[in-house]
Symmetry: C3
Subunit: 453 residues, 3 copies
């Protein structure tokens, strides 16, 4: 694996600020604008579009670009040739481009081989892909591993195409090169890692792809400013083959990954959906579930299934990493999925901000969660001695006093703060503050070093 | 135990075919016809009626007849004297048979001692059994272990009996002899056994008794034609004492029994009821539950209770065998239970075929269920390399592709195919086919030898 | 701990009988009358009121009085000075007592320091406590550990108090002395203990305090007359500091406590509420739940929470005793809670008797519950051989026969009689009788010595 090129050109980092005020819906505009910047680029699982996308991300966070050579064996897969496209079209006999890659990169079947020639409609038709169920939209289709070529277009347009002598041109190159991904490590107080992953291989598609990239970038930027217990690993990689390559190249270290999630489809107006990791009861599963339940917003929690995004690889049985998937409307459940309608109109600033905000809330739990042990386990400690009791005898306890009592009672080294918050049905923020107060008073002690510093 | 006679007269086997087309309701007629053949015989827990019944079964399958001598101690029980009846009646003073064993063997209290005499109604009445709640039917009653005599008759008939000088005759013998049961072993690829048991001690009663015998016979005939992993053991034995004798005589080998079920009440028009084994979560419990759920038909699943049929013995705490009970309407929950109304009108060909069909589906699961281990546990294998992927990128997965993915993802040696089918909510047939394809491609390997060959 | 005085003056015991017929609602009057006797006394966490209360209890049961000196450190707490009150009032300038401790001891803030002086309303007001939400009742308030003084009065009275020159007198003493609690041990056949605890620190409050004392006293009197497996420990102690002192003084022996409950708020007309121990599935939790479910009466079962009565101390993580809490309407859920309206009108004889009766039913389960092992685990034993079967073959089993079968089937040493009763859904009494019959017949044997003698 010595042939993997890695470079991070720190001198060229612009260090732009993607300003997101978590409490203001409209502040999602900064995330949205970043999506708009990336939208026109023709991405695929390899090629210059991925590199340009990573360069745009590097305007905000110091991503390392990794180049994995074509032909490298990664588990059961082989890194494919690199694909780049200069132009692609179908011209009619009048010389008009009736299907034009330059108008929308979705028009070209992903990984189309180079083609140049003239043909009748009958000969052309087997290479034309459309979606009869959504006849006005161009579908997104690829053929990475079976060498062929094709164009995608609205079904109505396909039906209207007259018999003619068509000129077909695909000026693409499929040749040895590299698969490119971006990797960022934000060192924490411990070497335990949280992995946040998104795919970067879809062309001009907003919700399925760009929303995940933009939210992950904003989240990385947020984390860079804070002191954190975990080391955060962000992976921006092409779907499937990219995460497989990353796992192959990082196999020795994946044991460090204690939590993580894939983020995608993060900007549509639907409620947040959390799909659990294969383990089903990992701390990340419980933290996301708790955040969604406490939010008061509508939400969905799905069991793991082996279909979806790169959780398929992270949660393969040999790895079985505690990694879930964060989405709003899941793949395949919104009509615009994998079509030209998944465009800049479909994603919303407020939804992007909301996804980011809930990810940050979840990370706050992960960061601060720990099992404590009471230092005064026999009977209740006399809270008044520690300045933690005020009030008159005879009146009931308020929520904060209940949080103190719950933590003291449950802290036998077996129950984490998240366990306690769930059982007490109290807000995380209150449990966290109460734990800090009790810890500060010397009444509880974490059973692991440095949970919350 | 050397005094147990066993004989299977292979030369005399007729090897008739009970033709059952599992997909055609009316094909249950063949099972029904077999019930009609057995219906007139006076069976009890011992005697020639049992022998004649076993001989009828031997028209279809090569059952071994086992003769256990009276007086043999089997666990806490003693094999009783053998009981046979030539005739029994109550005549009025006009010489008319007002209660006649020859008209229905239900009229005689099972195991009645020989009696001959004349008596007034008052003296006779303590020996007359009727069911006031169902006054037109003759109830079925027995007294195996308390020596007495009696007649059973419709309550309305009892009420109408005039004072008279009655002649009572019970020409029965109660003398040392044998308890008879039938045993069939169908050798499989392994010595692990599936036990299928039914009782054969009820006289002219169709649902409670004959339906179980007939369905078990048809099932054995079906299994004889197939290659199977398990060795199948069919026990056709008198209720309670018969299964106790079988367990006593086979105690050394019951550890081989990995699954099993008792079958009875298999022909009434109600939905199938599966009563779980004492273990409650045995593979047989889960397989039957899955088949019933997937069937789309109404069904009932009951928890184990220590009352019912021979599961009482198989599931006694010392054995605790994984044996459930398959019924349609359970004992005691149909009005005709243990009465003359449980006759040839009460059982239905289609119901008999349906019970058989579901038993065969359950056996198909047991036969093919196994835990596999992925041979490519790190990331997904590239299914296209094995001819297991077709289609274009960008389109969702069909059910069969999902079955492949579920099996690959869950095959960590801990999850059986049945576990996976339940979690994936996919039909068993599809999971089975997908597992065969993956196994054939070398992508998964069973953790036990020879699950499905 | 040698300075703890213990005395039980057996010569002076009156040994009165609190006659309670468990089957007659009106027999609760005897418990009610005892409450009426205790009602006028001014109790607090220390002082002569507690001593007089214990003396009243000692009319019925031979309680040991324990005196714990002020200043003794008990875990994180210190036994406070002893508090006694001779008189307390607020007089207006006309010399009329407008707030008078002699009319109701609730008027004085618990643990008020001595005060004597004259002051205007403005100066007085910070020392006046009322409940605006229940303006006609005097609230119950205390300040045990923060030295201050105050009066409690109805809010409407407070609002109506004119500007005046008030004379304030609190003739109390706060000086080194003792904390007093009562302890009773009823020796059983084993040294394993059942702990029954109630608090005795509330002044003229009936449901929250006196009902628990009276029911616990009646229960102790009931237990004194029976032979019991467990040793019963009754603790009548001031809330919080009293149970903490008891735990500190008995720390070496609390491992003997196998079951227990706190009893309080036992006399209001609401349904019985059982709050589970911290363990949540302790035998006492299951026994109380079973009794409440089987009763046919409305009931509530609550999960443990670290707020309430002395279960807070018994269930602190270092002890984690299997101790629940028995109430009718829980603290804080009845309007009269901690107010002058929790008076003799609020508690009802029938409710008191019902709480006692259910406690006795629960104790009957605890006393007789055990895991048995069948002595005939292979197949069913032939019950007729032991006089445990009567009836004719062909008829279904009655409840008692089912109880016999359930116990025989489940008695593998793993399932207790309570497990079996729950699974069989049969009344405890029937299960207990059936177990006795089977044990008497030598068919089952307890896996622990002496469960039911």
């Amino acid at each position: 694996m010595d042939d993997i090129a890695r470079h991070v050109d720190l001198a060229n980092l612009r260090e732009s600020e993607m300003a997101v005020d978590l409490s203001a819906d409209e502040s999602g505009q900064a995330i949205y604008d970043f999506i708009a910047d990336m939208y026109p680029i023709c991405r695929s699982i390899t090629g210059d579009g991925v590199r340009r996308t990573i360069d745009l991300i590097r305007n905000y966070i110091p991503l390392t670009t990794c180049e994995v050579p074509s032909g490298l064996q990664v588990f059961d897969w082989t890194v494919p040739p690199e694909w780049n496209v200069r132009d692609a079209y179908i011209k009619n006999s009048a010389g008009e481009r009736v299907v034009d890659f330059k108008k929308s990169n979705l028009h070209l079947l992903g990984y189309s081989m180079p083609v140049r020639g003239r043909m009748a409609l009958d000969e052309l038709k087997p290479h034309l892909y459309s979606d009869p169920e959504r006849p006005d939209w161009t579908p997104y289709r690829t053929s990475y591993y079976k060498t062929t070529w094709g164009f995608c277009l609205p079904h109505n347009q396909l039906l209207a195409m007259p018999e003619d002598d068509y000129e077909v041109c695909i000026d693409s190159r499929l040749e040895p090169g590299h698969l490119t991904y971006g990797d960022l490590r934000l060192l924490g107080r411990t070497s335990d890692e949280v992995l946040i992953s998104c795919h970067i291989c879809h062309p001009s598609l907003c919700n399925d792809n760009l929303s995940g990239i933009a939210v992950a970038t904003a989240l990385a930027q947020y984390l860079r400013k804070m002191d954190h217990r975990y080391t955060y690993r962000f992976v921006f990689a092409p779907g499937t083959i990219g995460s497989i390559a990353w796992l192959a190249l990082n196999e020795a270290h994946v044991g460090r990954v204690k939590h993580g999630f894939v983020v995608t489809c993060a900007g549509d107006p639907g409620p947040v959906t959390y799909k659990k990791s294969r383990r089903g009861n990992a701390e990340i599963d419980r933290a996301w579930s708790y955040v969604l339940k406490q939010s008061g917003d509508p939400y969905e929690i799905e069991e793991f299934s082996p279909y979806g995004y790169d959780e398929r690889q992270y949660c393969s049985p040999g790895f079985n990493l505690p990694i879930g998937t964060v989405m709003r409307t899941p793949y395949g459940k919104f009509a615009e999925y994998h079509s030209s309608a998944d465009n800049l109109d479909f994603v919303r600033p407020a939804a992007l901000r909301d996804t980011l905000s809930k990810a940050i809330s979840t990370i706050d739990i992960i960061e601060n969660n720990a099992c404590y042990r009471s230092e005064k386990p026999f009977c209740e400690p006399k809270l008044g001695n520690y300045g933690l009791y005020s009030g008159l005898g005879g009146v009931g306890a308020g929520d904060y006093q209940m949080a103190l009592l719950w933590i003291l009672n449950m802290s036998d080294g077996e129950n984490s703060l998240l366990d306690i918050a769930e059982r007490a049905r109290l807000p995380w923020e209150m449990i966290k503050q109460a734990a800090a107060a009790l810890s500060g008073a010397g009444l509880i002690r974490s059973i692991v070093p440095d949970p919350a510093k």
